[in-house]
């Protein structure tokens, strides 16, 4: 099978870009991840033997995306990551640990139109989340990486990971409640 990097770009470039964009939510970072993936692919001596370039390239891309998220998260010391939203977290509950604002019932989106609308709101809420929280939340809830893997990749403890995921979910839930 003949395989040429320019063909990869033509045939799989958009797919890889969308895959990266869905996870990094940043156009430039997604473009860079695609470029780095193709460059890494060229340097792999077995590239011509791949029978399914898309699957293979996506595998490389996943690693590039994690590298990128790791950078986003490592740029901030853990202590700061965890204190960042403390003020906000306290707003969720009163002094006795009861909901300060009680979770309201949501309409569960049932038809296609509502589902699309719900997704749009969810996307906007993800954009409002601090980037690092969005990154770890994506690893967990989208790519279904297990906690050990996430901690290893990011160099954080399990407890830190749980707290960050909790904050991400609390923030998203609140945002959805306001806008859905």
């Amino acid at each position: 099978m003949k395989s040429n990097p320019h063909d990869w770009l033509k045939e799989h470039g958009d797919y890889l870009y969308r895959f990266a964009l869905a996870r990094l939510r940043d156009v430039h970072q997604a473009e860079d991840a695609v470029q780095e993936t193709l460059l890494a692919a060229i340097k792999n001596p077995n590239f011509a033997k791949q029978s399914s370039p898309r699957t293979w390239l996506t595998g490389i891309l996943k690693h590039k995306i994690i590298d990128c998220m790791r950078k986003q998260i490592r740029e901030t010391p853990v202590s700061e990551l965890l204190s960042e939203q403390d003020a906000n977290m306290d707003d969720f509950f009163d002094d006795t640990g009861h909901w300060a604002e009680k979770p309201q019932a949501w309409d569960v989106p049932h038809d296609a139109l509502q589902q699309t609308q719900f997704l749009k709101v969810l996307q906007r809420c993800m954009e409002r989340l601090p980037q690092k929280l969005a990154a770890i939340f994506t690893m967990r809830d989208v790519d279904e990486m297990d906690n050990d893997e996430i901690c290893k990749e990011l160099g954080i403890t399990a407890t830190n990971a749980w707290v960050m995921l909790y904050r991400a979910r609390m923030g998203l839930r609140k945002c959805l409640e306001l806008h859905w």
């Binding site: 990097p5 320019h6 770009l9 470039g13 958009d14 797919y15 870009y17 969308r18 895959f19 964009l21 869905a22 996870r23 156009v27 473009e31 695609v34 470029q35 193709l38 460059l39 060229i42 340097k43 969720f92 509950f93 006795t96 640990g97 009861h98 909901w99 009680k102 979770p103 309201q104 019932a105 949501w106 569960v108 589902q115 719900f118 997704l119 969810l122 996307q123 939340f137 994506t138 967990r140 809830d141 989208v142 906690n147 399990a158 990971a161 749980w162 995921l165 909790y166 979910r169 609390m170 998203l172 839930r173 959805l176 409640e177």
Partner: protein, 82 residues
């Protein structure tokens, strides 16, 4: 007895790790009497379901594509190495 704050933390963790039987029992007990935490639990599960749907939608959407400029730039980089 758990309060809502402790319950919400455990409910979130139950999506990331298996709870101990003691924790499960405590959460279940609280959820029985607290409609708000029951809602919270359902909503977190809904968010998880939709997160996966959303990424899939973006990845399959044909109207999102590399810009011409980016494509050009990447092609030039490829030329340097291949």
């Amino acid at each position: 007895m758990l309060n809502c704050k402790q319950t919400s933390l455990l409910v979130s963790q139950s999506l990331d790790r298996p709870l101990t039987w003691r924790e499960r029992l405590a959460v279940r007990g609280h959820l029985l009497i607290c409609v708000y935490c029951r809602r919270f639990t359902q909503q977190l599960k809904l968010i998880r379901r939709y997160m996966q749907g959303w990424q899939q939608q973006v990845t399959e959407s044909s109207d999102i594509a590399l810009s011409l400029a980016a494509r050009e730039r990447i092609a030039q980089q490829l030329d340097k190495f291949y």
